[in-house]
Symmetry: C2
């Protein structure tokens, strides 16, 4: 793996989950974070302090001499921020799974996407080295620079088109957000019945570990895939008090049954 | 942890996923597996060979001199098998999450439940040491014996009532089977779009790892918990060709939104 390491001067636009963790990873890799922008002063200050950077809450105060501007804010406010950016030929990227590359075209001649495919919380430090960084850029030169930047924090850097990225993001919602919600439902069911959630932790770890080397569909277990309708019925009965949970149970069990009939 | 180790003579009724892996764990811990019963000769033979045991396909040939009889068969055939058992005071247990202890009362005076809370496939060896073994028995003496047996294969042995076990099993369906189905859906979406599933593996590992030390609800990320309706809408649009998947997406996203409004 050939990497030409260069220290970049980076401006972070956004200090949420991704902004915080990505900023910290870049800072630890030796890059200089010149400014942190957030609408919220406290949030900008907190992150700026961690990154030995300066905080701003007004985009008019943006330092125009950074090499790279990273937009790590909620998808639905990206367009508003982009409107306010005139960065000429500076590289500007966003970190979103869903927003097309094209959305940045008015902000600078050189734009790209720098999408870390991971579930990122402010409070939990993540190891970026194994995180797939999905890159896209409007020119080869910009792509090369982003690739070198990404390689300073991750060993898993990939070129991904906007169309592929949309599907990857959608898949990630199922594999991460929805499976995490299944954990949350399980935790809530146990809590109501005074059983500690800890009892499920080895099961959750093994379920996720199994698919690292096996096709998830082939690893399926439980009453639905066994066609054990008696247990399905008795579990539905246990959910009698919760109409919505019952619907989720039924829909997912039916879908498991159908998946395995089709395969 | 006080453990009085005794080598037991065990008969296995069932040679499926749980029968195979539990049988192997007990065999490796030094117990003697005297017989393996399965309706399917090939299945009984395969497991019996692994366990240096004898195979039978007819319950009439059951050796009545074992210490413990472990019923590890599908829930909906347990009642049929139990009807055929007259084991006097020998200990008989089942390994099911859903079937009450009481279901074994006609088989023997001494009965119990030996429920390993894990996702178990025939082909993947599991490390039983961390698996919670949920125990229940109709007498203190039987419980004590089962506890000692369980401790020879696991460091996580717990007393769990039939009522608690039902809820634990239901929670396990959400936390394991349904989250695994989310992985299967994600894999299928990626496959259709020619993106290797491997790109999601670090995300799945981190999602499961996060909840080992944190409340899953607090660890939630993604468009639904962010209230990012624009992304929710565009992802629903991506699912336009698949009515059922769209319904699952909508239902789970709504439920995440509601969970976080209520909390």
């Amino acid at each position: 793996m050939e990497t030409s390491f260069a220290i970049h001067k980076i401006t972070l636009i956004g200090s949420g989950n991704v902004g915080t963790q990505l900023g910290m990873a870049l800072y630890k890799s030796g890059h200089s974070i010149s400014q942190v922008y957030s609408r919220t002063k406290k949030s900008a200050d907190t992150l700026a302090k961690k990154l030995e950077s300066k905080s701003i809450t007004d985009l008019k105060l943006l330092d125009l001499n950074s090499d790279i501007y990273i937009i790590a804010i909620k998808d639905d406010v990206i367009a508003d921020v982009v409107k306010q950016l005139r960065l000429k030929d500076k590289i500007v990227v966003h970190t979103s799974g869903s927003i097309p590359l094209q959305a940045l075209s008015t902000a600078s001649k050189n734009h790209g996407v720098f999408y870390p495919l991971q579930t990122i919380s402010k409070s939990k430090v993540v190891d970026f080295r194994t995180i797939p960084i999905c890159l896209e850029a409007n020119t080869k030169k910009t792509f090369k620079l982003l690739q070198n930047l990404a390689k300073t924090i991750s060993e898993n850097v990939q070129e991904i088109t906007s169309e592929q990225r949309q599907i990857i993001h959608l898949s990630a919602v199922f594999a991460c957000n929805f499976s995490n919600h299944m954990y949350a439902i399980a935790a809530s069911l146990l809590k109501k019945n005074h059983v500690p959630f800890a009892i499920l932790k080895p099961l959750i770890a093994e379920t996720a570990s199994k698919i690292q080397f096996n096709d998830p569909q082939k690893m399926q277990t439980g009453p639905a895939v066994r066609g054990d309708y008696k247990t399905l019925k008795s579990q539905l009965k246990l959910l009698d008090g919760d109409k919505k949970l019952k619907l989720i149970y039924k829909l997912l069990s039916d879908d498991i049954i159908q998946y395995h009939q089709d395969s």
